[in-house]
Amino acid sequence: MPGPSTHPDPPRLPRLSRRQALRSGALVSLAALGLGALLAVGRTRGYAIDPARRLAVLSGWQFVVVQHVARRVVAPDRPDDASIPTADGLDVAGFVDAWMALMPARVRRDLGRYIAVIEHVAPLGAGFTSRFTRLAPADQDAVLASLEASPVALLRAGFDGLKALILMGYYRDARAWPIVGYDGPLVGRPASGWTASGDRP
């Protein structure tokens, strides 16, 4: 029988698990993940976190890394404008932690590993010898830029995923809407508007 349609089926795709893909991506990814796993085990101390903070998924050190990443991802374009809310002010890292609890276990696991890569391995790839959380903001930007443009597809994909979560944690909040000129949901909207009223949907 000829192919079933205008779009004939090729042979069954080779089986490639996400972990296998990570391993086969490039030497860089091998080094990154292997070294990252090692370092993540041995270097998880020395992170300051509010003892009152209750985390759903992330460990304390992972939470601190996400806080640092969030501060850079939503760094203000007008640093002197005090009206721009900060990542910490909107508790973006707390949002990421809560959202991760909704994700399938395997995605949580992969994202957790990726956070270790950001903290311990990606700085090396960008030419720094310190942990990500100990770098100056400009150097952190350089590390994140290296991940965003990494030749390893899954490192880029991981950055995109974490970036999307952070941006959701930021732009979901009515206090960030004036930046983008968004007027928010119609349902339950106060007569004076969400941001003018100071209410949060």
Binding site: L13, P104, L144, E148, G161, L167, V180, L186
Partner: protein
């Protein structure tokens, strides 16, 4: 016959055993129609839906609340290589709750190919026409009037017109639309004439029972016949609340091309020819964003009301396989797609009200696969073919051309690095090979084709009746059925094929 109704699995107090003439898994477009038809035939029928039962007052237009509620994996489902985000609905009504209500019939060319090349009988253009008509009546399908076209869609119309490209208004299944623009987060105004509002209430009126918060764990079968479904009710936090055993001689799978195939695999459904889960298509797409010097405010109004089909042909072997429509998002979605981060990203977000966004969606030839991991969770394998990649690149360049023709001062294709052009001349110099998976963010919202119909068991999973080749009593009534990509939004096709095939499930249940 049992009295129909909606039952929240999270409210169950203990394990239960149910008996039915038929059980339907999934309550989206296909499942809701199958359920209605079985119930109207006088059969005792049950539906199991893994998500919750939300109604219009629950849809609060908040991305951070509705996305994890209405979408699988909290909106984070992706192909195994993470190249393509796959958005699929969960909850009573399935993806019809969050879709943008586009109504296009399965093209005649596609139905012809299925008949000639895939051995699908009784579903040619002539046979399906009255089925489409009946379904469009049920769903109150109509053309979206020009008066309801927002600025983003008007930019598409104007750009396509300036270029002389084929384009036109879309049809939808809304009545009483308030043009709030929050369609993808569920309709707060009950304007969507969908599974949730139309089909499922009709099924319940006819005696069907719909269990929400109930995940089908596996289909039970013995001696080449299905015997029922083992399921689990879960509470609001997803914890297992109660075990449910349904005994039934007919099981209708309607849990989407991903969910149905994964469940069949978990259930060790016979697959002697290795066809189960294969043939995954999903219309992968990417976006181009144009910045205008006037307000677009694309989040207001009906999100998609106009299309460009200049590069779309459903003819067999066509090299024009891209459908262009608008693709706007609320701030969270828009922020995720814009390239970069930090100050530059925030500066770009300030242009949000002046952005018009188009998507190029590929009528794909790539054949992927749905498998399951050790825990039974779906794995989506899909490596875009070079032919599809070229279509995607061609489509995105066309999107950029439309936006420029409509007056955009700059167009961005969010590749790595971003492609930014200010004129058609600059666009001519763009290297299309830079547009590829893992370089541009890809999204798919139309998975299909993992339990294909056809008369040859060696190349298909179910017959032209929708019944599994090897397992009597197991039917499929969702997009899994489609032997190829259909190249149009699938809801009308899914609703209609469920209606078309329902008599066979009814006959089996009566037997």
């Amino acid at each position: 016959m049992s009295r129909g109704g909606f039952v929240a699995g999270r409210d169950l107090d203990g394990d239960i055993v149910l008996h039915a003439d038929a059980v339907v898994i999934g309550t989206g477009a296909g499942g809701s129609v199958a359920l209605r038809e079985l119930a109207r035939a006088g059969l005792d029928v049950i539906a199991l839906e893994e998500g919750g039962h939300l109604v219009s007052r629950d849809f609060n237009q908040r991305e951070d609340v509705m996305i994890p509620t209405l979408f699988q994996d909290a909106g984070g489902r992706a192909t195994e290589d993470m190249a393509i985000r796959v958005l699929q609905g969960r909850g009573v009504g399935g993806s019809t709750v969050h879709n943008t209500n586009l109504c296009k019939r399965t093209p005649d060319e596609i139905l012809d190919v299925w008949a000639r090349r895939c051995g699908v009988e009784g579903a040619g253009p002539a046979e399906m026409r009255p089925v489409f008509e009946a379904m469009e009546r049920d769903l109150s399908v109509s053309e979206i009037p020009a008066t309801m076209r927002n600025a983003n869609n008007e930019a598409l119309r104007a750009g396509a017109a300036a270029l002389g490209w084929r384009a036109g208004p879309l049809r939808h299944n809304r009545v009483g639309c308030q043009q709030s623009g929050f369609c993808e987060l569920g309709c707060s105004y009950d304007a969507k004439q969908n599974a949730l509002k139309i089909m499922l209430p009709a099924a319940v009126d006819a005696g069907a029972r719909v269990y929400s918060d109930v995940e089908a764990l596996r289909i039970t079968h013995e001696g080449g016949r299905v015997t029922g479904v083992v399921a689990a009710a879960r509470d609001a936090e997803g914890r297992r609340k109660a075990a449910i055993q349904v005994w039934s001689p007919v099981v209708v799978l309607a849990a989407s091309a991903v969910g149905s195939a994964a469940l069949a695999r978990r259930s060790a459904v016979p697959d002697p020819h290795g066809q189960l889960g294969r043939g995954l298509r999903m219309h992968p797409g990417a976006v181009a964003a144009g910045t205008f010097d006037r307000e677009i405010a694309g989040w207001r109004g009906i999100p998609q009301s106009y299309e460009c089909t200049e590069f779309l042909s459903h003819e067999e072997g066509s090299d024009r396989r891209v459908w262009i429509v608008t693709a706007f998002a609320h701030p969270v979605g828009a922020a995720a797609v814009l390239p970069g981060f930090g100050a530059a990203h925030m500066a770009a977000m300030r242009g949000y009200p002046r952005l018009a966004v188009l998507t190029a969606m590929v009528h794909d030839e790539t054949s992927g696969e749905v498998d399951v991991d050790a825990n039974g969770n779906p794995i989506l394998r899909y490596t875009m073919s070079e032919g599809d990649r070229r279509q995607l690149a061609q489509g995105l360049v066309a999107c950029a051309r439309i936006l420029l023709a409509a007056g955009a001062t700059e167009v961005t294709i969010p590749a790595i690095p971003p492609i930014r052009v200010r004129s058609a001349a600059q666009l001519d110099r763009v290297d299309p090979s830079a547009i590829r998976p893992h370089s541009v963010p890809l999204t798919a919202v139309h998975p299909m084709g993992t339990m294909r119909m056809g008369n040859d068991p060696k190349t298909s999973v179910v017959g032209s009746t929708g019944e599994h080749h090897q397992l009597k009593g197991l039917f499929v009534a969702d997009g899994s059925l489609f032997p190829t990509s259909i190249g149009v939004p699938p809801q009308i096709s899914i609703y209609s094929f469920a209606l078309h095939l329902a008599p066979h499930a009814i006959a089996r249940a009566r037997a």
